[in-house]
């Protein structure tokens, strides 16, 4: 398993799916570990009842079917697929509605889905998913990107209520690729994936949705920022180490 995770850290993120299926076939005994530890780009299905798309993940899967957050029905249909309790389903519906607005304000498009289910210790788990195709043939409003994909997975474990407070543990992953291609600079492609965790104890007075939403918003901004500043910045630094910009070279010559 350690070696497998080592490989996933090195293989170009745009090849994650191929790499994962290769590992699954080499290590069939570790398939559940692999599926839970390796995040892969999100897939989408259309809810036949309402014509809206929803996102697939391990958390809305039962057997080979996936539950839509819109109609609460499994696709392909499943007789006895597990469903959240009525109360939790109510929160799930609300979360989907609000999160769709949040998504629209930050992403100007894209698809989102929220799934919730009870866990063993009186709390529940919520999974917030966003998928955005930012390419110029997709929903890139500015049309800069030949290829552009953003997949965000946020899983929040919500603990039981303790004296009006609740523990929230958020694990977030963002996977992205962005490629530009133009005459003067050729193909320029950045791809990456990062995962972070964050825990908070918050008052339930504000409501679960408000608490979870704020955490996700903060986390997404952090992730976007560190991809932009730190991760992309490091690759840029590397380019400048390989071939320093000319001003640097000119400064250096008189010294030698």
């Amino acid at each position: 398993m350690e070696a497998a995770m080592g490989l996933m850290r090195r293989i170009p993120p745009k090849h994650t799916e191929t790499a994962l299926s290769a590992l699954l076939s080499l290590m069939p005994n570790h398939s559940s570990d692999l599926l839970s530890q390796v995040d892969q780009p999100l897939q989408v299905l259309c809810d036949v009842d309402c014509g809206k798309e929803f996102i697939l993940c391990e958390y809305n899967r039962d057997a080979d079917s996936y539950r839509s957050p819109w109609s609460n029905k499994y696709h392909p249909s499943l007789e006895d697929g597990s469903l959240p309790s009525l109360e939790l389903r109510k929160l799930e519906i609300e979360a989907n509605d609000i999160f769709a607005i949040y998504r629209d304000q930050y992403y100007e498009g894209g698809i989102s889905s929220v799934y919730m289910w009870e866990d063993e210790n009186e709390g529940f788990v919520a999974c917030f998913l966003i998928k955005k195709d930012g390419s110029k043939t997709g929903q890139g409003r500015r049309g800069y990107l030949e290829e552009g994909a953003w997949d965000a997975i946020h899983v929040i474990e919500v603990g039981p209520e303790e004296e009006e407070n609740t523990n929230y543990r958020l694990t977030s992953t963002v996977m992205l690729t962005l490629t530009t291609n133009n005459e003067s600079s050729g193909i320029f492609s950045l791809s990456g994936s990062i995962r972070r965790q964050m825990s908070m104890k918050l008052s339930v007075a504000d409501g679960h949705l408000c608490n979870m939403g704020k955490m996700i918003e903060e986390m997404e901004s952090k992730l976007r920022n560190s991809l932009d500043q730190v991760y992309f910045g490091k690759t840029r630094e590397m380019v400048c180490t390989l071939r320093p910009p000319s001003e640097v070279v000119q400064l250096r010559i008189p010294e030698s």
Partner: protein, 305 residues
């Protein structure tokens, strides 16, 4: 193909193919680390060795890896342009042939090149002059650059009247696994000397890769091609003209890479996710009721989505 009884099991051949895929997709400078992990996952030295023996030579040649020659006569570039046999690579500058071990990525033996492996005196004059100019350029511009100039076509021409082709390869890489960062810059310039037209056509392919993997995995991958031309002149004059063409295009390309990076935060990245919502204020989680109200109203008015 797998036997019927072991349907779910992969055949050895499939395992070799998968192992090769991982090896060939290693980021610059990381194939040895990938090899270690692949070997431990396979847990089958036979399969691993077969995959390694096929994948390493391809990886080494496509990444233009640089190996020091044992007699301290410099570095040899592993490229298809200098490939004489599977593990023998010509170093035109020292007129030596380096025998390399692809999997270990070392050069243990060198031998003097045979006459028939080298270019004719006429071609060598062009190659040698260009090599000298490119060497100057690379030393000035790439802190860790290695370059080589090969004759890839028409090396036996004894004098004017024939077309021939040189290839300039520049490879610069930096590996700092302790800083979770690796990268490489490779350029190949094909230079076509057209005797009849008295022109020299220059075609460049540049490729830059970088990998940063501290608590994440982010990779840069770029490719660019360009073209230029100059007049067929005396060897020294050709060398000067060609190296200034190469310098010009590579400097421009670096500037365009910088520009791509500068465009990221405010334009390119914005098409994926904005820094702030369209409203330019944080999302009003405290007051989401307003959305349900507006939604109800729009539903009533029939303007909902």
């Amino acid at each position: 193909m797998a036997e019927e009884e072991e349907e779910s099991e992969l055949s050895e051949k499939q395992k070799v193919e998968i192992a090769k895929w991982f090896l060939l997709n290693s980021p610059p400078g990381e194939i040895q680390y990938v090899a270690k992990d692949v070997k431990s996952i396979l847990n089958d030295d036979g399969v691993f060795n077969e995959a390694a023996s096929e994948a390493f030579p391809l990886y080494n040649k496509s990444h233009f890896i640089v190996l020091p020659m044992p007699d301290r006569s410099g570095d040899v570039l592993v490229t298809s342009f200098g490939e004489l046999e599977d593990n023998a690579f010509l170093d035109p500058r020292t007129a030596q042939v380096a025998i390399v071990d692809h999997v270990k990525q070392v050069c243990e033996v060198v031998r003097p090149a045979l006459d028939e492996e080298l270019a004719s005196a006429y071609i060598e004059e062009f190659r040698f002059s260009l090599d000298a100019e490119i060497l100057k350029y690379v030393e000035e511009v790439y802190p860790k650059g290695v370059c080589s100039v090969y004759c890839v076509n028409g090396k036996d021409a004894e004098g004017p009247g024939f077309d021939f082709e040189l290839a300039v390869v520049i490879s610069a890489s930096r590996h700092s696994p302790q800083n979770f960062c690796n990268g490489s810059w490779c350029s190949v310039w094909n230079i076509d000397f057209k005797d009849e037209q008295q022109t020299v056509e220059v075609k460049g392919k540049l490729q830059v890769g970088a990998h940063y993997f501290e608590e994440g995995n982010v990779q840069l991958d770029t490719k660019h091609e360009c073209k230029d031309a100059t007049l067929f002149q005396a060897p020294e004059d050709c060398a000067l003209a060609i190296s200034s063409i190469i310098r010009h295009h590579e400097t421009e390309y670096l500037a365009s890479l910088e520009a791509s990076y500068l465009n990221l935060p405010d334009s390119t990245f914005k098409d994926l996710r904005r820094k702030l919502p369209v409203t330019r204020t944080l999302f009003p989680w405290h007051n989401t009721l307003q959305f349900s109200l507006t939604r109800d109203i729009s539903k009533e008015l029939g303007i909902g989505k």
